[in-house]
C-alpha cells in the first residue's frame, strides 16, 4: 500500500502535555490535508515542519500517525 501524502495545513509544538505524553515534550502536532481527501491530526517524525510543507506518512505507532517532510 502506498504511504499517505499531503500538505501541512497547520502546526504547533506542544510544551505542556498530558501525563501520558510528558516524556515526548516538546513534540509537534499537525493537521495534514491529505492528497486523497480529508484531513488528519498527526505527529511529526524528524525535522520540524511548517505550513504548506509536503509530507509523507512515515509510521503508525500506538495508533498514532507520524508524518515527515517529503
Amino acid at each position: 500500500m502506498m504511504a499517505r501524502t499531503g500538505i501541512i495545513y497547520t502546526e504547533t509544538v506542544v510544551h505542556l502535555a498530558p501525563e501520558r505524553f510528558a516524556a515526548d515534550v516538546p513534540y509537534q502536532v499537525v493537521i495534514v490535508k491529505l492528497d486523497d481527501g480529508g484531513s488528519i491530526t498527526a505527529r511529526v517524525d524528524g525535522a520540524r515542519v511548517a505550513i504548506d510543507d509536503r509530507v509523507v506518512e512515515s509510521a503508525i505507532r500506538d495508533g498514532i500517525s507520524f508524518f515527515r517532510k517529503q
Binding site: 495545513y9 502546526e11 498530558p18 510528558a22 515526548d24 488528519i40 505527529r43 505550513i51
Partner: protein
C-alpha cells in the same frame, strides 16, 4: 414567543477556594441572584444548571437537584446541561425557551465548576475530554495545542502577529485588575506577555485562560411580571445556539467558527440588530486567539482584521468596541461551567451601571459569546435596557 427579562444576577468571586466545594459555590451564587431579584426560592418554577465536568473533578454526579434542593427549591424540574465551556450558555438558552414559550414565568439558571481540586495535568486531561478523544487527543493534542494551530493558521492567512495575541492578554489583565471578583488582578506589560514560557507554540502562558473555581446565577422572568421583582430588569433581546464538528481537523477552515457565525446570525435576527448596534461585549477568550477570531465572526471587524484592531486599542474600555471589561476568561478566571452565565452577569452589571471603575460609557446593548471546545458549540446572547 413572549419577551423575557433578567431580574436578578449573582456570582461568586473566581479563584482557587480549597474550603468551598462545588455545591457551596453554586448555592452562594444562587442565593445572591435570589436576593438581587427579591425572589423567594419557592417562586422558582424550574432550575437549569450548566456544568462541564463536575463528576470528573469532584466525583459528585446528579448535580442539578443536589444544588437546587440546597437552595430551598423543591419538587421542580432540575436538570444539568453539558456543552463543554458553553455549558451554562446552553443552560441559559434552554431556560430562556422555557419562559419565552409561556411554560414558566420565573426560573433560575446557574453555572458552576470546581477545578482546582485536581492537579494541572489531570485538569488538562479532563478538559481534553471535550476534544475528539479518538483522533485529536490520541495524537497528543490538548486545548492549548488546538488553539495554537488556529493561531498559526490565522497568522499565516492574515498576517496576525505574536504582538497582536499579547495585546489581547494585556488589555484583559488591565480590565481584570479593576474587577474585585477577578482571579488575577494584575496588570501585565506587552513584553511580559510576549515572552512568557511556551505552552503550545505560538501560544505561551499569558495566552491561556486560568484554572478556576466559581459559580454564577441569574433569574429569568416573563417581561410582563418583571416589575414585581426588580426596578432594573434587563431584557433578553436575542439568544441563539449553534453547533459544529468537535474535531478541529473536520472543519474546512479553522480561522473562523461556523457555530459562532451561525449563533450570531440568529441572535442578531431575533434582536432586530446588527453588529454595529452592539455597544460592548463579553467574549470567550479561553485563549487570546479566540478573542481575535470572535470579534471577526461576530462582525465587529472584517475577516482577518481582529489582531490589528486589538493592537490599535479598538477593544479597550475607551475604544470603539470595548471587549470583556470584566477582564475576560484570561484575568477574571474560567470555571468552565460557570463562564456562560458569568458573562451574562457581567452584561447585566454594565447595563445597570453597577460596574464601578470598569463602567463603560455606552452600556445599553451588550453581547455575550460563550464558546464550547474548539468551536463545536456557541451560544450568543444580546441583552439591553428594558
Amino acid at each position: 414567543m413572549r419577551p423575557v427579562t433578567i431580574v436578578g444576577a449573582g456570582k461568586t468571586p473566581f479563584g482557587a477556594f480549597p474550603d468551598q466545594d462545588l455545591r457551596t459555590l453554586a448555592v452562594a451564587a444562587g442565593e445572591k441572584a435570589l436576593r438581587n431579584a427579591n425572589v423567594e426560592p419557592s417562586a422558582i418554577e424550574s432550575f437549569y444548571l450548566g456544568n462541564f465536568a463536575g463528576p470528573e473533578f469532584t466525583a459528585q454526579n446528579h448535580l442539578a437537584p443536589y444544588i437546587s434542593t440546597a437552595l430551598g427549591m423543591n419538587s421542580i424540574p432540575s436538570t444539568r446541561f453539558e456543552a463543554a465551556c458553553a455549558s451554562s450558555g446552553a443552560a441559559f438558552f434552554q431556560a430562556f425557551m422555557g419562559v419565552a414559550s409561556g411554560i414558566y414565568d420565573v426560573v433560575m439558571v446557574a453555572g458552576v465548576e470546581k477545578m482546582t481540586c485536581q492537579p494541572t495535568p489531570r485538569v488538562t486531561e479532563i478538559l481534553a475530554g471535550a476534544c475528539d478523544c479518538a483522533t485529536e487527543v490520541k495524537a497528543g493534542s490538548t486545548f492549548p495545542s488546538l488553539f495554537a494551530m488556529i493561531a498559526r493558521r490565522h497568522m499565516h492567512d492574515f498576517g496576525t502577529t505574536r504582538e497582536h495575541l499579547s495585546a489581547v492578554a494585556v488589555k484583559n489583565h488591565e480590565n481584570g485588575a479593576l474587577n474585585p471578583d477577578a482571579q488575577m488582578r494584575k496588570v501585565i506589560t506587552l513584553e511580559q506577555a510576549m515572552n512568557a514560557r511556551p505552552i503550545a507554540e505560538p501560544l505561551n502562558l499569558y495566552d491561556c485562560s486560568l484554572i478556576s473555581d466559581g459559580a454564577a446565577a441569574v433569574i429569568l422572568c416573563a417581561a410582563e411580571r418583571a416589575r414585581e421583582f426588580s426596578d432594573q430588569p434587563v431584557k433578553v433581546l436575542g439568544v441563539a445556539q449553534a453547533s459544529d464538528w468537535v474535531a478541529l481537523d473536520q472543519k474546512p477552515d479553522i480561522t473562523t467558527f461556523a457555530a459562532v457565525r451561525g449563533a450570531a446570525k440568529k441572535a442578531y435576527e431575533m434582536a432586530g440588530l446588527g453588529p454595529g448596534d452592539i455597544q460592548f461585549a463579553e467574549l470567550h477568550d479561553c485563549f487570546t486567539i479566540a478573542e481575535i477570531v470572535a470579534i471577526e465572526d461576530l462582525g465587529f471587524v472584517a475577516r482577518g482584521r481582529g489582531g490589528f484592531f486589538t493592537a490599535e486599542g479598538g477593544t479597550r474600555r475607551d475604544g470603539p468596541m470595548p471587549i470583556s471589561a470584566s477582564g475576560g476568561l484570561k484575568s477574571k478566571g474560567h470555571p468552565v461551567g460557570a463562564t456562560g452565565v458569568a458573562q451574562i452577569c457581567d452584561l447585566v452589571q454594565q447595563i445597570r451601571c453597577e460596574a464601578g471603575e470598569r463602567q463603560l460609557k455606552r452600556h445599553s446593548v451588550g453581547l455575550a459569546q460563550n464558546l464550547g471546545g474548539s468551536g463545536a458549540t456557541c451560544v450568543v446572547t444580546i441583552l439591553g435596557e428594558f
